[in-house]
Subunit: 126 residues, 2 copies
């Protein structure tokens, strides 16, 4: 499937160092804020940072039709169980042109938002 | 696709009155709380209530592999734009055995949680 390369890069925790998977003008839609992040550089910083917050990360389902895919995952942030979806659109060359991430439940999303803010501030990214 | 019947029932706003789409022991995983709701009766009440809160609801993507499907939607709750995913598992007879709903961004999820609480209290459901 088109989404296999992305899946493997996340599972091996190298997705933040895998620019070849993404279009340069790729869009990242965060679970937290509405406004999208534009560009591969922002995508890689965010993915690299968020994976550091996730413990016991594993994908549970992978579905794909045409150039669209959804990967469901389970993980923990601190002591909170988290379920999530990576929703992906690919271009004709099989590169990610859009990634939207969804998180449930609300308490986990809130914890993730706080931790991400701290992490990106530490990194001087925001 | 297996998910076509569910999709049509939501689009026609009759999913809350379509028990035949669901197993009697179906599980609903809310975007708000971690603990699942067990049973078709709860599923139908919640789906019927939440659709009343959504304006301009439309599906934007539908992906399916085997007995698993993801439907992406866009809608509004009040004046907030909402993106969401219905993530579905089907049984061998094509009935929904699990539905998990994911909402982004966080502000929209928070508004939805408040509105749902009010609606279910009014209905005497909680």
């Amino acid at each position: 499937m088109l989404s296999d390369r992305f899946r493997t890069a996340v599972e091996e925790r190298i997705v933040g160092r895998s620019p070849e998977l993404f279009r340069e003008d790729a869009t990242f839609r965060s679970p937290v804020v509405f406004k999208p992040y534009e560009g591969r550089a922002a995508m890689l910083v965010i993915l690299g940072a968020v994976l550091q917050l996730f413990d016991d990360f594993h994908y549970t389902d992978q579905v794909e039709t045409g150039d669209v895919a959804a990967l469901a995952f389970s993980t923990r942030v601190g002591d909170r169980e988290v379920n999530g979806i990576d929703f992906l659109h690919f271009d004709a060359d099989g590169r990610v042109r859009e990634l939207a991430v969804y998180i449930r439940p609300m308490s986990a999303l809130s914890t993730l938002a706080e931790e991400m803010k701290r992490k990106l501030e530490e990194a001087g990214a925001i």
